[in-house]
C-alpha cells in the first residue's frame, strides 16, 4: 500500500530522515516506535504531506509511493491526497461545532449538501468509530462537551467520514486515560478490517497490543522492521532489543 524507497528528509539544513526504505502493507496496523526525535512523526506526516506546511521542510532524495503513485510528484493534488490519507492527531482537536458538524465537515468541504446523504454518512462514521450509541441523542450539541476519549473517537469518526484508504495516527492515546486508551485500541483492531493504519506511538506496549508490523526508528534511521511478534520476542538488532527492554530511550 505504502512504499518508502530511500527517502531523505530535511527541515531546512538539518537532515531528519536518512535513507528510509520500508513497505507498509494494506489493511494492517503498522506501528512506528522509537525514542523522541527519532523521526517517526516526521515520516508519518510525509504520508499526507502535512510537512509541506512547515517552512523549509522537503524531501531530499528517494520516493514515497502510495498505491503506486509518487505522492511528491508535482501533478499530485495535495487536497485529493489528504482525502485519501486521513490523520488523527495527538491532541484531539474537535472543532468547536456540534458533533454532527464535526463529522460532516470533510464531506461539506467536498460540496456535498444533501441532508439525507450527510445524515447517513455521519451515522456510518460514528458507528465505525464506536461512538454512535453514546452520542446519537445529542448530535447537535457541542463537541467540546465530550470526554477526552470520546473526543478522540470523534476525531477518528471525522477522519473516516471522507472514506480514506489510509488512516495515520500520531500518538492518538497519549492524552487519554487507560480505559479510553483501551477503547481506542479496540477500535483500531476493528478499523484495520477496512483501512490501512499507521500509528506512531511512544508506548511499546501499545505497539505490542495493536500492531501487526513494527518499525523501530532511531535518530532518523530505520533500524529494524518486522512482524510485531518477532520484534518483541526476538529482535534481530541489538539496538532494537535494548530499546524494547528499556535499556535506553
Amino acid at each position: 500500500m505504502i512504499e518508502v524507497e530511500g527517502v531523505d528528509f530535511y527541515y531546512g539544513k538539518s537532515k531528519a530522515l536518512h535513507n528510509i526504505s520500508l513497505k507498509i502493507p494494506a489493511k494492517q496496523v503498522t506501528a512506528f516506535i522509537g525514542p523522541s526525535g527519532c523521526g517517526k512523526s516526521t515520516l508519518l506526516r510525509c504520508f499526507n504531506r502535512m510537512n509541506d506546511l512547515i517552512d523549509g521542510a522537503r524531501i531530499g532524495a528517494g520516493e514515497l509511493r502510495i498505491q503506486g503513485v509518487n505522492i511528491y510528484d508535482p501533478q499530485v493534488d495535495v487536497i485529493a491526497l489528504r482525502r485519501q490519507v486521513g490523520m488523527v492527531f495527538q491532541k484531539s482537536n474537535p472543532f468547536p461545532k456540534s458533533i454532527y458538524q464535526n463529522v460532516s465537515y470533510g464531506l461539506e468541504l467536498q460540496g456535498i449538501a444533501d441532508k439525507k446523504r450527510l445524515d447517513a454518512a455521519v451515522e456510518k462514521s460514528l458507528r465505525g468509530a464506536a461512538l454512535w450509541d453514546e452520542v446519537k441523542d445529542r448530535l447537535h450539541s457541542s463537541a467540546l462537551g465530550l470526554s477526552g476519549g470520546q473526543q478522540q473517537r470523534l476525531c477518528i469518526a471525522r477522519a473516516i467520514a471522507v472514506e480514506p484508504s489510509v488512516i495515520l495516527m500520531d500518538e492518538p492515546c497519549s492524552a487519554l486515560d487507560p480505559i479510553a486508551t483501551s477503547k481506542v485500541e479496540e477500535l483500531i483492531q476493528e478499523l484495520k478490517k477496512d483501512y490501512t493504519i499507521v500509528i506512531v506511538t511512544h508506548s511499546m506496549q501499545q505497539a505490542g497490543r495493536c500492531s501487526d508490523l513494527t518499525a523501530f526508528f532511531y535518530i532518523g534511521k530505520l533500524i529494524e522492521v518486522d512482524a510485531t511478534q518477532k520484534i518483541f520476542t526476538q529482535p534481530a538488532n541489538q539496538q532494537t532489543e535494548d530499546y524494547i527492554t528499556g535499556r535506553f530511550g
Partner: protein, 371 residues
C-alpha cells in the same frame, strides 16, 4: 521546634517588604482614582451642560428640534419689551408677520437650529470607513498571519504598518487631501485637460480627484485606523488554536477553506472588539476630515442628490468638526456654549451607541462561535 502562635515563623511577617507593599498599593490606588476623577470630570461636565440643551421639560423630554434641524443663525432681539431668541426662519416669519419693524438685534451664527446634518455625516463617515478598514485590515491580517512566510518583504510590511500607527492625524488629513481629493481616479467620458488620463476603451479614467467627499473621508479615516485593526486581527487569528487549521487541512481543505470555515469565525469576536476602539477614533478625529470630507456648513444632506452614485461624492458636516467650528471659529458667548455642549453630548452618545451595538454584535458572535 515548638513555637507559640505569636513567634511562629508562619505568623510573623517580614516587616520591610510588607510596608513597601502597602505603600505601593496606595500609589496604585491613587493613580486609579485620578483616572476615575478625570473621566468623571470630563463626562460629568459634558453631560450636565449638554443636558441643558438636549433635554426639555415637556414631552418628549428631548429637544427634537436640536436633533433634526440644520444649524441656523440665532437672532436675539427685543420687541415690544419682550426678549426673543429666534432662529433664522422663525425670525423672518416673525418679521414678516409684523411688517418688518426695525429692532435692535444681535445675530449669532450656528447658535440656533440643530445639528442633524452633523449626526448624519458622522454616522456615514464611521460606517463607511470602518467597513473599508475592516475589509482591508482583516485581509491584511489573514495574509500576514496565515500565508506569508516571513522574510525581508514581510518585515518591511510590518514596519510600514507600525509606522502608520504613529503618523499624526493632521498628516493623514493632508495625505488624504493630496491623494483622494486631488488625485483619485474617476470614470469619465472624455479625458480631462491638465490631469492624468487613462484610456480604458469604453471610457476614460481621469485622475481628477474625488473632491471633498464621503469617499475621500472614508479612505483617509480607514487608513488612519488600519494599524489598530490589523494588529488586533492578527492577535485574534493567532489566538485560534493551530489544531483547527491542521484538522481542516488534514481533511482535504485548501488553506482558504480552512481559514474561512474554521479560523475566521472564531477570530471575529476579537476582531470586532478591536473595531470598537477604531470607531471611537474614527468618529472623533477632526484633522483627517477637515480637508477631505467635512464642510463647515452644508445645506444639503448626502442623499439629496440627482443620481444615487453621487452620494459617494458628497461632502458632509461632522460632529467633531462642528464642535471645532462652534468653539473656535466664531466669537464665544452664552449662546454658542449651548450648542457646543449639546453637540459634545450628542457626539458622545453617538459614539457610545455605535460601540454598544458593536459589543452586542460581538457577544452574539461569541455565543455562536464559542471555543
Amino acid at each position: 521546634m515548638q513555637h507559640s502562635i505569636g513567634s511562629h515563623p508562619f505568623t510573623t511577617p517580614p516587616i520591610g517588604a510588607a510596608r513597601t507593599e502597602k505603600n505601593a498599593f496606595q500609589v496604585f490606588r491613587i493613580a486609579t482614582y485620578c483616572i476615575l476623577l478625570a473621566a468623571t470630570l470630563i463626562f460629568g461636565i459634558i453631560f450636565s451642560k449638554g443636558a441643558q440643551t438636549i433635554f426639555v421639560r415637556e414631552f418628549p423630554f428631548v429637544n427634537v428640534a436640536f436633533l433634526t434641524q440644520s444649524p441656523e443663525t440665532l437672532h436675539v432681539f427685543e420687541h415690544e419689551g419682550q426678549p426673543h431668541e429666534l432662529g433664522d426662519r422663525e425670525f423672518r416669519a416673525y418679521m414678516e408677520k409684523r411688517g418688518n419693524p426695525s429692532v435692535k438685534e444681535e445675530s449669532y451664527v450656528y447658535s440656533a437650529g440643530g445639528i442633524f446634518p452633523c449626526i448624519v455625516g458622522t454616522f456615514f463617515l464611521v460606517v463607511g470607513s470602518m467597513t473599508i478598514a475592516l475589509v482591508v485590515g482583516i485581509s491584511a491580517a489573514v495574509f500576514l498571519n496565515e500565508y506569508s512566510r516571513g522574510g525581508p518583504v514581510v518585515e518591511l510590511l510590518r514596519l510600514a504598518i507600525l509606522n502608520l500607527a504613529g503618523v499624526p492625524s493632521i498628516v493623514f488629513g493632508l495625505f488624504g487631501f493630496g491623494l483622494f481629493v486631488l488625485f483619485a481616479p474617476v470614470f469619465a467620458a472624455a479625458p480631462e485637460a491638465g490631469h492624468v488620463s487613462l484610456p480604458l476603451g469604453f471610457c476614460y479614467l481621469n485622475f481628477t480627484g474625488w473632491g471633498v467627499s464621503l469617499l475621500s473621508g472614508w479612505f483617509t479615516l480607514a487608513f488612519m485606523v488600519l494599524p489598530v485593526v490589523i494588529t488586533a486581527s492578527e492577535e485574534s487569528l493567532k489566538a485560534v488554536p493551530k489544531g483547527f487549521r491542521d484538522g481542516s487541512l488534514a481533511l482535504g481543505a485548501t488553506q482558504w477553506e480552512a481559514i474561512r470555515t474554521n479560523v475566521l469565525p472564531y477570530a471575529l469576536p476579537g476582531i470586532l472588539t478591536s473595531s470598537i476602539l477604531g470607531i471611537a477614533r474614527v468618529a472623533g478625529e477632526t484633522a483627517p476630515i477637515m480637508f477631505t470630507a467635512a464642510y463647515v456648513v452644508r445645506d444639503r444632506l448626502p442623499w439629496q442628490v440627482d443620481k444615487a452614485v453621487d452620494v459617494l461624492f458628497q461632502g458632509v458636516m461632522a460632529l467633531p468638526y462642528h464642535i471645532y467650528v462652534v468653539s473656535s471659529k466664531i466669537p464665544q458667548n452664552e449662546y454658542t456654549e449651548r450648542v457646543q455642549f449639546g453637540t459634545a453630548f450628542v457626539f458622545l452618545a453617538v459614539v457610545l451607541s455605535i460601540a454598544l451595538s458593536s459589543v452586542i454584535l460581538r457577544n452574539r458572535m461569541r455565543a455562536r462561535y464559542r471555543w
